[in-house]
């Protein structure tokens, strides 16, 4: 029974790696600004305003190509959050694979949690203000 459960897990790991590979291949080779098969933001489509995620697909494309500064111009919050997200995701995945229980202490700080939440809201509002310097927060506002 244990062996069966193990192979189930290897299957899942393989699937995750495969999907990750597809994701990377897609965003590396195709620029969301130039291809219409990428999903646009519903909020932006409906209101014309920017949500906190607007620009993130274009940012990821540029980051995969090595242009981190270019990515920053499309979505600064995303680029700044990426190290923390990658670290946190790695811990979650490694915990799952190796059945360990490492916890990222920062994630348990209420100051961090609500600070980040407040930051996201603030960012949502500020990046829609149509004057300098707030235009720097909008996709490719620079």
């Amino acid at each position: 029974m244990a062996l069966l459960q193990d192979s189930n897990k290897y299957l899942k790991i393989g699937l995750i790696l495969f999907l990750g590979g597809v994701f990377f291949w897609l965003y590396y080779n195709y620029n969301p600004a130039e291809n219409s098969f990428f999903i646009p933001c519903p909020f932006h489509y409906a209101t014309g305003l920017h949500c906190p995620g607007c620009g993130s697909q274009r940012a990821i494309h540029l980051i995969f190509k090595g242009d981190i500064l270019g990515g920053f111009r499309f979505n600064p919050l995303l680029v700044l959050t990426l190290p923390i997200v990658i670290y946190g995701l790695s811990i979650t995945i490694l915990n799952w694979v190796f059945k360990t229980k490492y916890r990222f202490k920062l994630f348990y700080s209420k100051l961090f949690i609500f600070g980040y939440f407040g930051l996201a809201i603030l960012y949502w509002v500020l990046r829609n203000i149509d004057s300098y310097p707030f235009t720097l927060l909008a996709p490719s506002g620079t």
Binding site: I39, P40, P42, Y45, C51, P52, G53, S56, L77, L78, T81, I84, V85, G88, L89, I91, T92, N95, K101, Y102, R103, F104, K105, F107, Y108, K110, I113, F114, Y116, F117, A120, W124
Partner: protein, 94 residues
């Protein structure tokens, strides 16, 4: 990053990383719900409410998943919209 040495053991993973990803990428409203649940994990654990802490962590993950699902559903609706308008446009040009 460390395993805690508190006598009560390690709190459950509060799934904040999924809450953050959901908030930034998919759906800010549901992402916020997820964040709020994630924030409750540690205090419940510290109070000895182990089950409540685990429930909060599970709720955080659940709402993050719903945020992602809503983004996918809206994406599908968008594609349908484009396809329908596209087909309608093709046949309307008589």
């Amino acid at each position: 990053m460390e395993t805690t040495n508190q006598p009560m053991g390690t709190p459950p993973d509060n799934n904040l990383v999924w809450a953050i990803l959901c908030t930034v990428f998919c759906c800010l409203p549901l992402g916020i719900v997820s964040i709020i649940y994630a924030s409750k994990v540690k205090e419940r654990w510290a109070q000895g409410d182990y089950q409540g802490a685990q429930e909060a962590a599970d709720d955080a993950k659940k709402w993050a998943i719903w945020g992602a699902a809503s983004a996918v559903i809206l994406g599908i609706l968008y594609v349908l919209l484009v396809v329908v308008i596209g087909i309608g446009g093709t046949f309307a040009g008589f």
